[in-house]
Structures are given as structure tokens and as C-alpha cells.
Symmetry: C2
Subunit: 216 residues, 2 copies
Amino acid sequence: MTRSEENYLKAIYHLSDTFDGGISTNAIAEKMKTKASSVTDMIKKLSEKELVNYRRYKGVELTERGKLVAASIIRKHRLWEVFLVDKLNFTWDEVHDVAEQLEHIKSEKLINQLDEFLGFPKRDPHGDPIPDKDGNMSDHADVLLVTLNKNDKGIIVGVKDSSSSFLKYLDKQGIALGKKIKVIDKEPFDNSMKIRIKKEEFTISQQIANNIYMKK
Amino acid sequence: MTRSEENYLKAIYHLSDTFDGGISTNAIAEKMKTKASSVTDMIKKLSEKELVNYRRYKGVELTERGKLVAASIIRKHRLWEVFLVDKLNFTWDEVHDVAEQLEHIKSEKLINQLDEFLGFPKRDPHGDPIPDKDGNMSDHADVLLVTLNKNDKGIIVGVKDSSSSFLKYLDKQGIALGKKIKVIDKEPFDNSMKIRIKKEEFTISQQIANNIYMKK
DNA sequence: TTCTTTTTTTAGATATAACTAAATATTAAT
DNA sequence: ATTAATATTTAGTTATATCTAAAAAAAGAA
């Protein structure tokens, strides 16, 4: 498992968190700050290793093995972030670049001893959950959509208002339980927000956002 | 500075510790477990970056800048070793491979905070001195040559017996203050040892080894 | 000094992971 | 249903760091 392969798996894992279905070559290229042609090459390689499923022009999805590898890298990344903040007095905004390097260190013992040394933390300094040895991650806590900020992502898990007029509105917009949302922009004046579901972007009012429960 | 360049600098630094003068292509190849031709390529690269001085067929020596870079990698390696043993309950024989990876993490802040977190240790778990930020290393403590074990290295810093017959013997063998010695083998039966000075190997008795002070 | 052995270097090849430019496939629009 | 626009892939190139095999230089022996 090369460093580059690990970085691609991690990128695909994070993108799958925001988008349903196959992740497009271009989306990966943008995330990895590289070119689509490079992504195509790497996808072939990961596909041969059965870490992703890949259908030409249909995008990629992680296999179970792929998910496990990605989760283990995220586990390492987040544990190192806790170490940097809790033990070495880094601030939460300084940790990312260093953790990007540390996440590629290969040693089962190292990461499990580190986990213990840190007291088996459940979340990293940004509040993101830390996967355990088996790749299981405790869920994000439920919050109202209105509390999310620009660039936050989440999954719709419930509604507060169950009136038929509200639910009809949701149906019309294609908003439903299980859908993944990313907040593209938030208007401070009236708390209306531009959100993205699948590849579609549209704006919703604060009233709407106030009645949708999300898992962050 | 690539990982490979760093590893070569470190290897040359360690070899310079045991041998005087230029370090040969073959010696580096052996240490790096690679081929002489690969070493030649890398030497050219390091030479262009003025990290080593290089004369065809005469071997290489680190420049001041090269020494500084090498010392900073060794500093990182040894500090991480202390971390692994002191904080994560590794045993002294488990740390090397992981430290080989950790030594390449790039972050000034990381290594200086780690240094502080560990209480500014002076030696790693094997007793080797840890260079400070400026590449300065506290000397090894003086020991009798007889106390060294197989594969240990050191510099001759003094003699206990100053009789002319002893000193004459030393002269004849080419043993003198400042010479670098590596213990090639040690015979448990009589504590005689096969040692190497420059590229010459020979055997000395316990009486001799008992009268020579070394800096490890 | 000439020959042999050892050491070192060169030349050419391979693998990884990028890139650019061009070709091809898919989706969207008229 | 074509055409236009977009997305993706292919082909060919580059840089790093290796390697093998062969050539060249230096050191050692006769």
C-alpha cells in the first residue's frame, strides 16, 4: 500500500460521505488537486487490488476492503491530531498538515499504543469521530440543519415538523431521509442556505432548515 | 529533501563515525543495502546540492550543511525512540523500524514540542546522544575498549598503561589516539576481540583492550 | 612495469506517479 | 436525432529511484 494509494482511498472515502453513488473521476481529481488522467491511472490500480469497484464513466465505490483501509488511515490521522493538541500543545488549526504525514506511518503496535496513551478518545479536536480498530465509527450527534455552517456535510436522519405540507415540500425538492447534504453557502442575514443534494444545488429558508435533523 | 536523500545522508554520517577520510561508494551501498551504481547516482545529486564533497574514486565527505541535515534526522530518530519507549511502552529492540519512518516527518514545531514533552532527553534508549537543534551532540562517555561488544564503535581517547612497551606495541599495530575502531567480533572465552581500524582488521587480547580508553 | 583484481562509473531498462494533449464516450441542448 | 458541451480515457512524456550488465579507472601483485 503506497502513500499515494492511501491518499486516494481516503479522498474517495470522504467524498462518499457527501455524495451518493459512484464518485466521479473529476471529483477525485479536484479533491486530490491533480489531473483527471492521473486519477484514471490510480483507479485502475486500486481496482485491480479490489479496493474499489469501477465501471467506466460510472465512477468508483470503495469495496469493503477499501473502506477498511480508508478507515484505518482516518483513524491514524485523527488519533495523531488528538496527540498533537492534547500532548504537544498544537492548536486545532495547526494539526492537519502534520497529521497528513503521520497517518502513513506503518505500525499496528504504534497506533494501538497511542490510542491507549491518549485514553481511547472518541473524537478528534474538530469533533469528528475516530474509527476503532475494526473501522467502526461512532455516529455523529444529531443536529438541526440550520446549525450547520458553510462546507459542513451531513445526512438527513429526521424531521421535526411532520405536517403534510412540509413533507410535500421536501418531496418536491428531493429532500428525503438518508440523503447527503453539503452546505454550499449560508446567508448571515436570514440564515437561508444554499445546499447541495447529489449534484443539485438550491436554496432553502431558515424555517425549512430549522425542521430537519442531521447526522453530522 | 526527499526521503531517499535523507537516508543516504544519515548513512554517510554514521559511516564517517567509524571510518576516517572519504566514504567509499561500496561502503555506502552495503550500508544502504543497494547497488554501487545507485549510490553513484545519489552521490551526484547530493553533490550538486552541496550536501557532500565528492571526488571520483576518492569517496564522499559530508559538507557542513550535509552534517547539519544528517544530525537533524538523527535527532528526530532518537527523540522518537525515547517517545516510543517512555510513553508507548515499546521495548528498546522494537523501536528502530518505526523510528526509521517517523524520522522523516517534516515539522520543526513537532520535533521541538516533542523534545519538550519528553523533558529534553540527552540520550536515546540505547544510550546514544541526541543532537540539539543546532546539530550539537554531547559526547559519548569514556569506557574501556574491553567493555565494548560486537559491532560497537568508538574513538580512542586515552590509555591506562603508559609503559613504553605498551605504547610501542600500539604504534606497531597502528593504534593511536583519535583512531576510530569497530569491534568486529568478541571471543567470550578469553575476551580477545577482532577490531577494525581504517580498513584493517586484527585481533587483540584482553590485556590490551583493558588499557585503552574509548569514547563510544 | 605490466597484468590482474577490485572498485567505481556509465549506459540502458524498469516501476511509480505525475503531467499534457488528443481522442473518445456520455450527457445535455436544440 | 443531431449537435454541442462535458467528462473520461488513452497515448506519450517526465522525474525519481531503483536495477543489471558492461566499460573504465584505480589499486595491488608478479
